[in-house]
């Protein structure tokens, strides 16, 4: 497992050339695609003879971009090889600083912001009774009291207790949420838990097929499949329907908690390009204060 996949995380300059040489020696011509995933998905699985090389140059960047490389795999076990191609990933998205503290903040925020605490205690004015002075101020030799429902009394009101409905809503700053996503994607990629597939098309709609596939490839106990669209192919939908540890998700639902909850994250090529496009747009957009974004740039 380590051999082929560890090559995918190549940083030094000579490795991209080496990988390309290896792939080209098996094919007649190399397919060069720089388009979105739509055209990729259009080609059926079996008809491809040459490897899918998506070596995006990322021309819109201000500075030099050294892309991360990853294998493109297929969910079709009848294909000649598990790997069908090579993809270049943008380092600002998949090679960003794996800020564990920001990942923690994002996960905490996701849990807390929709939390409503329904616990409720009565204050001394709300507890039934306690309007009359229990006994005169002086003369009895007893402690002085004004009400039988004061917090000092048994059965009295609670001074600083929970008051329903306490909401814990807050919005984590936009740049923190953005960097949380890039940190998680980078951490996943660095730990070999990020797999890229050309599409979610499968030959069989049985749950057993999917389970066996993930077992053979050591794709974690739980797997999250992410595609660009929210209408998934029929076969994978049926296969994963009964499996609670294999989930499908569109790109717009991508979040830090789900990515960490599932051990393996499987992205389609279309999803990768969409995620890159969206995240890079937000990094570069002119209306966000540049001073705020500067802190979070690599």
């Amino acid at each position: 497992m380590a051999g082929a996949l560890s090559l995918a995380w190549g940083v030094t300059a000579h490795r991209p050339a080496l990988l390309r040489q290896v792939l080209r020696s098996f094919s007649v011509t190399a397919v060069r695609n720089q388009e979105t995933g739509a055209a990729v998905a259009a080609a059926s699985i079996d008809s491809r003879k040459s490897p899918l090389i998506l070596d995006e140059k990322f021309p819109d960047s201000n500075s030099i971009v050294v892309p991360r490389e990853a294998w493109i795999e297929t969910l079709d076990t009848s294909a000649a090889s598990t790997q069908v191609g090579l993809i270049h990933l943008h380092p600002q998205v998949f090679g960003a600083n794996p800020r564990l503290d920001l990942i923690h903040e994002n996960v905490t925020w996701q849990k807390k912001f929709r939390m409503v605490n329904y616990a409720h205690t009565k204050v001394r004015s709300e507890v039934r009774g306690g309007g009359k002075k229990p006994w005169p101020q002086k003369g009895l030799g007893r402690a002085r009291h004004g009400s039988i429902r004061s917090p000092l009394w048994r059965g009295g009101g609670v001074t600083h207790g929970p008051r329903a409905y306490t909401t814990h809503f807050y919005m984590l700053p936009f740049s923190k949420r953005l960097q949380g996503l890039t940190a998680t994607l980078s951490a996943k990629f660095a730990q070999d838990d990020l797999k890229i597939v050309e599409s979610l098309d499968m030959p069989s709609d049985e749950a057993g097929y999917l389970e066996q596939l993930c077992e053979n490839r050591r794709w974690g106990i739980s797997v999250l499949f992410v595609d660009d669209s929210d209408i998934m192919p029929r076969n994978i939908t049926l296969a994963s329907d009964t499996l609670r540890h294999m989930n499908l998700m569109p790109v717009y639902g991508l979040n830090v908690h789900s990515m960490l909850k599932h051990e393996t994250l499987v992205l389609t090529v279309a999803a990768v390009r969409r995620i890159e496009e969206r995240i890079l747009y937000h990094f570069r957009r002119p209306d966000l204060p540049k001073e705020n974004m500067k802190r979070f740039r690599m």
Partner: protein, 293 residues
Amino acid sequence: MASQGTEKALALLRRLPRVSLGNLKPNPGAVKSARRGRGIYGGKTHGAGSKGSGQRQNFMRLGFETGNTPFYLRFPYQNYYKGHHMRLSYAPLCMGKLQRMIDTSRLRTDVPVDITQLSATQLFSINPMEKMGGIMLKDEGIDHFQATLNLEVQWATEAVIASVERNGGTITVAYYDPISLQAALNPMAFFKRGVAIPRRMLPPQNLIDYYSDPKNRGYLADPTEVARERFVLAQKYGYELPDIRSSPNQEMLLERKDPRQIFYGLQPGWVVNLEDKVILKPTDPELLEHYAS
């Protein structure tokens, strides 16, 4: 390329256990407990101090000074300082001193004398950050002024203009916004920064009339009207207006900067590389359009 720290962190992660929901923790000091003080050292007053409105949870309003007139109510509104942050001040330079600078060869007359040349004499301290606009000419010593110059300052009065033009020179009054002024005052320091030369900004609303008036020889005024005003001023002060076209250094006297230009001979958008002694010019059509506008 990512920073070294990022690369090291990602390399570390390859050997560490999988990042999961079960092994996340915040940065030390990031999370502060909201609980009240309890127990041996958090007990007794529980973080509320002793007596007073603080302990009794009946806090004084912000700014309250326990009865005396608070600071924020002591002082009435002062219109004297209204808009003071927008008013510019100028370093004064009287004509007598200008003549002395030329006589002692502190200032060259064979090149156009603008704010850069004047600040190179190191006799002025102009700080754009302190809302200084540049140099203004004062009319002390105009009777002794004899030099022929191509002057560009930020403020000049009628008498000063007359004294310059009487000797066959030209004077223009030009606005420099703070960033352009900082660049113009010390060009070498600006070039060392390695940033593109910016466009000079137009004057603010309260100054645009002054710099568009031909009577003040404003740089935004119509040149034909300026020529007419030169003639009118000569009539007013009673001197013969010398013909610049026939003078030997006519070219130098007629050299003018574009309203968007900061340095003579350099256009906005260019990057001056002092190390390699080259000038880098933009080629992108969008950039060229922006800098030419």
